[in-house]
């Protein structure tokens, strides 16, 4: 399909360390079209950031290793699952060209993402000059434009990062990320370090720019509120697996996986008064030691015998809404057979 800008297919990523192998990402698939926003939600250590780093080709080496799967950027595979050093290097060379040009990333901490000894304007101009054959003067001009676009007056071109507040720095990081008009933008918790009122500003800005540039946005967050705000699709990640994937309407109006339901129930609400929050006990399975069962079984309120020793596949419960749960299966099968009969 040509309109898919980014496609992740059956991605499996491991971290191989002295203490063991961490199965960080297990068979994750999703796709993004131009102008679309996908939110990836999950708790710390679920593998959200690993997915982002894999797409960017920034997995920490040598521990991080793509075991199998593909990441297609405009239909072209950009991850190398071979261990051959030669192929890895070739991949790295290719990624260096793509990063910042076709695909960029915004990190959580704007402070550490900027070079403290270079004026911010020059940092934007540098990215422009790196990927485009333009003169210095033109780069300066376009960098100033970018700054104005993210709401920073152009005359602050020569200011250093420390002269800006947290929210302003994140705007500059966004300007750098969008400078070359990338097809895909990955944002890893871009507003987590910011205050709520500033977060609202930055989210509004990102939403506007995304529409303007028609960029596909992969938004990694732990905040379901942010997802509701800015995303079109939402994927819930648990222990390296996509446990639920669908449009935001699917996820918010009809959460189907027990984990997604638990996430919603655990949030203190501004509208309703609850005496006590519903919380599930236990912790996410250690990625170093994943059980052969459904990874959520131990904490699941709806577990059944089927969940032992078999990991459920993703079922499509309604068009575009996928759930990884055995409980869903009978309903899905029944529906499928109904549809078949109807067709007869």
């Amino acid at each position: 399909m040509s309109d898919k800008v980014l496609e992740v297919k059956n991605l499996i990523v491991h971290y191989e360390t002295e203490d063991g192998v961490a199965e960080a990402v297990n068979d994750v698939s999703f796709s993004l079209s131009a102008g679309e926003t996908l939110g990836l939600v999950g708790e710390t250590g679920a593998g959200k950031t690993t997915i982002a780093l894999t797409i960017m080709g920034l997995l920490p080496k040598p521990a991080g290793q793509v075991i199998s799967g593909e990441v297609l950027l405009n239909g072209k595979n950009i991850v190398e699952s071979s261990r051959s050093r030669f192929k890895q290097r070739a991949n790295e060379r290719m990624m260096r060209k793509l990063r910042g040009d076709d695909i960029s990333m915004i990190f959580q901490d704007p402070m550490s993402a900027l070079n403290p000894v270079t004026p911010v304007g020059e940092q934007i101009a540098e990215v422009l000059r790196l990927h485009n054959k333009i003169s210095k003067a033109e780069a300066v001009l376009r960098a100033t434009e970018m700054m104005e676009l993210v709401g920073i007056p152009g005359e602050r071109y020569k200011n250093y990062p420390h002269e800006f507040s947290g929210g302003m720095k994140q705007r500059i990081v966004i300007a750098i990320a969008l400078a070359c008009n990338p097809r895909v933008l990955i944002a890893d918790e871009p507003t987590t370090a910011l205050d709520v009122t500033i977060q609202a500003q930055v989210l509004q800005l990102m939403n506007g720019l995304k529409q303007k540039f028609n960029t596909a946005l992969l938004m990694i967050t732990h905040d379901l509120g942010v997802v509701a705000d800015i995303c079109d699709k939402c994927g819930v990640i648990y222990a390296g697996q996509m446990v639920e994937l669908g449009s935001v309407e699917h996820i918010f109006n009809n959460p189907s996986h027990p984990y997604t339901k638990a996430l919603f129930n655990a949030l203190p609400s501004l509208d309703k008064d609850v005496e006590r929050l519903e919380s599930i006990q236990g912790l996410m399975s250690d990625p170093m030691n994943l059980p052969p069962d459904c990874t959520f079984r131990e904490r699941c309120a709806e577990k059944c015998e089927k969940c032992v020793n078999t990991d459920p596949p993703l079922f499509e419960t309604e068009p575009g809404h996928y759930v990884r749960c055995h409980r869903i299966a009978p309903a899905v099968e029944a529906e499928a057979s109904n549809a078949k009969e109807a067709a007869k």
Partner: protein, 303 residues
């Protein structure tokens, strides 16, 4: 989906099977040791240090001759199977003297550094902990001392105290104290801003408890590393002092003084210089390698 099994996992499973039955308890010390063991250079340094210590302990068994066995019929012989490192201008076996030299150089190096850290530690921690006026007073005082190069100062102190191992140790420790106090002050200042110090205050920990149970153990990383580098520097200082005749006096074999006494022979018998010099180099290298590794091992973030 079937669970994946990669070659890397198989390798680790094998390792796990090997370790089975052993108690797997991790403490910061054990973790540090585990990280240190992974660092081959540091282990190399540690092994060399161990050998040197053994040499010092068993010097009288290893050395074929005494330290002052002057045989004037065999002066300035080149290294041979009989005299592994040759003989000096008094006909003494250099190999034996180098072996015995370990007994002086190693302990003197360690004791000097230990004393410097003890003095500097008290001053530095007081300065860092109380800050403000105490900090200013102590550190300005240290600044004044630091404005004199440590070697010059050591020479001055040693010259006024007179010769002798004890005076030498004192001179070197005192002259390096200001530098050490700075290191310890800096190390404590870094951990002082941690939340756990505040949480210790919130449960009512006294100043001494905050310093001894919270700050010092956590500041130990940089301090320990600096200590190993200090030992290397102290051995070199002892050697330099002996070289100019203010250190250990003849005939006591000490690597620096051996170097110094053979400086006139540089042209005639260069090997009289090579071996003590080589020993200093090896020791300093070993300590530095070990110190480097220790610094990395003690930083849990480098896991």
């Amino acid at each position: 989906m079937a669970k994946l099994y990669t070659p890397a996992m198989a390798k680790i499973d094998k390792k796990k099977a090997k370790l089975k039955g052993r108690i797997q308890k991790t403490s910061p010390g054990r973790e540090a040791w585990k990280r240190l063991r992974r660092n081959k250079l540091a282990i190399g340094g540690l092994v060399i240090l161990g050998i040197l210590v053994l040499i010092a302990i068993f010097a009288n068994y290893i050395a074929p001759e005494g330290i002052d066995n002057q045989v004037l019929t065999r002066t300035l012989q080149t290294p041979s199977t009989q005299h592994l490192m040759g003989t000096d201008n008094f006909g003494r076996d250099i190999f034996s003297r180098v072996i015995y030299g370990t007994r002086i150089s190693l302990p003197v190096g360690f004791i000097c550094t230990f004393l410097a850290f003890a003095f500097g530690g008290v001053l530095g921690s007081i300065a860092a902990f109380y800050g403000g006026r105490a900090d200013n007073l102590i550190m300005r005082f240290m600044d004044i001392f630091q404005s004199i190069p440590p070697l010059l100062m050591a020479i001055a102190i040693a010259a006024s105290l007179g010769n002798g191992v004890l005076n030498l140790v004192l001179a070197i420790s005192l002259s390096t104290t200001p530098g050490r106090s700075r290191v310890i002050r800096a190390a404590i200042l870094t951990v002082k801003s941690n939340d756990y110090i505040e949480s210790a205050r919130a449960i009512g920990a006294s100043s001494a408890r905050q310093l001894l149970k919270y700050m010092l153990p956590n500041a130990m990383g940089p301090i320990l590393t600096n200590f190993t580098f200090g030992v290397a520097a102290a051995i070199l200082t002892v050697s330099s002092m002996s070289y100019i005749g203010l250190g250990i006096t003849a005939p006591t074999p000490e690597w620096g003084s051996m170097l110094s006494s053979s400086k006139e022979l540089m042209r005639v018998a260069p090997y009289t210089l090579y071996f003590p010099g080589l020993m200093i180099m090896i020791t300093v290298l070993a300590i530095n390698l070990f110190g480097d590794g220790l610094r990395d091992a003690l930083d849990p973030r480098l896991k």
